[in-house]
Symmetry: C2
């Protein structure tokens, strides 16, 4: 198909398609002659992944390049792709205190979780603990086990859904998409469920 058809099918403008090719996110089409480059369904699939990374994941072009390079690397393991995807997703640049990091690591080892050094999640949780400390609300640490149980159940389901996929590109795609979309799904469901419990409490009172 020509670039105009690819644009129509993918909902991505021809200018953006050309930009993604120049930035190395999308592989070039086959040149058929002057002003005619042929694209196929592999470009369509790749554009879907690129849009998820940029729109859903909120990645910069540079971060998307890093993730897609991992997806494309013939020898990258699933673990490596997941770590690259996790690190590329936007997160706070603030450092966490050694106290908070130690607390998170201790909580993980109590659950017998295998934790790699530099996992993006450690800093995210540690920063939350620091804020609770600053707010004088360390009583809320009592919620940590409930949150960790929930995260454990979701992650087990996530990884269970990933492993049955056999082809590498599909797996990589799913890990990247799942990391970004799963966060949002969980946030949304938490808000709905909070609404439910607050209303039930209000009805009781």
């Amino acid at each position: 198909m020509r670039i105009s058809e690819l644009s129509q099918l993918s909902g991505v403008s021809t200018a953006s398609i050309k930009y993604y090719v120049r930035a190395g996110l999308l592989h070039e089409g086959a040149r058929q002659g002057y002003n005619h480059t042929e694209y196929d369904t592999s470009h369509q699939e790749r554009l879907r992944l690129i849009r998820v990374l940029l729109d859903e994941g909120g990645l910069t072009i540079a971060k998307a390049q890093t993730v897609l390079a991992a997806v494309d690397a013939p020898d990258a393991s699933l673990v490596e792709i997941m770590e690259v995807a996790q690190r590329a997703l936007p997160m706070s640049r603030q450092p966490a205190s050694p106290w908070a990091v130690a607390l998170v690591k201790e909580a993980c080892s109590q659950r017998d979780w295998i934790v790699e050094e530099g996992n993006a999640g450690i800093m995210m949780v540690a920063q939350v603990l620091d804020v609770l400390h600053d707010l004088g609300r360390l009583d809320l640490l009592s919620l940590l086990p409930a949150y960790a149980d929930a995260a454990d159940a979701v992650a087990r389901a996530d990884v269970g859904a990933i492993t049955p996929v056999k082809d590498r590109a599909g797996t990589a795609n799913m890990v990247v998409v799942g990391t970004a979309l799963g966060d949002r799904a969980l946030q949304g469901l938490r808000r709905i469920a909070q609404g439910n419990y607050v209303r039930r409490e209000a009805a009781k009172a």
Copy 2:
């Protein structure tokens, strides 16, 4: 205390403190005479809440005004404060398809969740379903029950932690802080737990 001491104790610059007063986020201090305004611990506590809204919640000044107005309203119920806080937190402006919204509502009613019209979570989850549809990955809908179970458990813990607080300001504070921080804690824990399960799968293979 004078503004310089308040600045030092709160870690907020005097320029920002003055700005928050002008913007109506922070109540004025007591004027003691020319160039001397007296602040107290109520200002310190309010500054903490403001910083959480702006830094952790990622709220704009305008959105923070809305949330703080709900916190200050003498007759606002806990349900109302929670809804205002949930809606103020940054989220995608994209609409969701009627198909996805209906699917989310159906999943909620199957769980016997009381869902208010316009809950921020419905659109968040529906948008995720739309993306999965566009990606041709509706098979991942099989994960929805695991996510909903996890969200249910976390929300029950959230609301259980809120209700024991007796004073209104403390409750409002906690709802606002908890909505923003809880998302981040859950995201981080999910990443750590994913790392654990992926490594265990890799070890098995």
